[in-house]
C-alpha cells in the first residue's frame, strides 16, 4: 500500500492562474520527499520551477486566462524532470543579458533563467509552439 502512495508521473494542463502555484508546490514537495531530496534541494527545485511557471504565466501567456500552461513532472530512479510549456510567442535566448554583469546588477528583473540554471542540473529551452522549459535535477551522488 505504501508504494502506491508514490507519485511517479503527473501531466497537468491548467488555465493561466497564479492561484494554482501553491498547490503545485505541495505536489512537488511530495515528490521531492518521496525521491529523498534533502530539504535544501527541494527548496531550490521549487524555486527554479516557480521561475519557469512565472515566466510561462507572465511572459509566455501574458496573464491571459484563456491560455494554458502545461506542466509535466516525471520521476526516474535517479532524476526528476520538470517541463513547463506555455502558449506564448517564445523569445530570443541569445538576447538574454547576464544579470551578474556590472551594468545589470541593479536591474529589477532578469534573474529567473539565471536561478533555474543555478539550481538545476540541466535547463533546456525549446521554442516551438510557445516556450517549453525542461528542468532536470539528479539525485545527489548519482552519476551525471
Amino acid at each position: 500500500m505504501s508504494q502506491l502512495k508514490d507519485i511517479k508521473f503527473v501531466d497537468l494542463r491548467f488555465s493561466t492562474s497564479l492561484g494554482i502555484l501553491d498547490i503545485i508546490k505541495s505536489l512537488m514537495g511530495r515528490i521531492c520527499e518521496q525521491m529523498e531530496f534533502d530539504e535544501d534541494s527541494s527548496y531550490w527545485i521549487w524555486l527554479a520551477t516557480q521561475e519557469a511557471l512565472n515566466n510561462a504565466i507572465k511572459h509566455g501567456n501574458k496573464m491571459d486566462k484563456n491560455k494554458f500552461v502545461h506542466l509535466v513532472l516525471s520521476t526516474l530512479d535517479d532524476e526528476f524532470t520538470i517541463s513547463v510549456q506555455d502558449e506564448g510567442e517564445g523569445f530570443d535566448q541569445s538576447s538574454i543579458p547576464d544579470p551578474t554583469a556590472p551594468e545589470n546588477l541593479l536591474k529589477t528583473s532578469g534573474r529567473g533563467l539565471f536561478f533555474m540554471r543555478n539550481f538545476m542540473d540541466r535547463v533546456e529551452i525549446q521554442i516551438n509552439q510557445g516556450t517549453k522549459v525542461t528542468l532536470t535535477k539528479k539525485i545527489k551522488g548519482s552519476p551525471s
Binding site: 535544501d40 516557480q50 551578474t100 536591474k107 529589477t108
Partner: protein, 112 residues
C-alpha cells in the same frame, strides 16, 4: 505577506512575515516603503527574519525599493536574512549592494 512597522531611534523597522514572490508580497512591500519615503521616513531597516521564501521577482522588488530609497537620499538595510535568501543575494552578486545585519541594535546604530 504581513508587514508591521515600528519606529526605533528615528529608524523605521519593517517587520516582514511571509513570502516575497510574484503576485504576493511584492507590490505590497513596494507600496509600504514608498509611502514611508513620502512621509520622509527614509531610514529603513527591513527585518526579514520571517521571510522564508523569495523568488527572482522578490529580489527585483528589493532592488526597486533600494533604488527608490537611495534616490530620495535615504538608506535601506536588511536585518536577519535567512541562509537561503543570503545564498540568492550571493549568487546574484547583490550581497555587497545591500548592507545586512544579524543584530538589530548594531543595525540601528549603523544608520547614525
Amino acid at each position: 505577506m504581513k508587514i508591521d512597522l515600528r519606529l526605533e531611534d528615528g529608524i523605521t523597522v519593517v517587520d516582514l512575515e511571509g513570502t516575497i514572490t510574484i503576485g504576493e508580497g511584492d507590490v505590497q512591500l513596494r507600496k509600504t516603503l514608498f509611502a514611508l519615503i513620502e512621509r520622509g521616513q527614509n531610514k529603513i531597516l527591513l527585518n526579514m527574519e520571517r521571510v522564508g521564501y523569495m523568488d527572482s521577482s522578490g529580489v527585483g522588488e528589493l532592488i526597486s525599493c533600494f533604488k527608490e530609497v537611495h534616490e530620495r537620499g535615504g538608506q535601506l538595510k536588511l536585518l536577519n536574512i535567512s541562509k537561503k535568501i543570503k545564498d540568492l543575494l550571493q549568487i546574484t552578486q547583490l550581497l555587497s549592494v545591500f548592507e545586512y545585519f544579524s543584530d538589530e541594535a548594531k543595525a540601528l546604530s549603523s544608520f547614525k
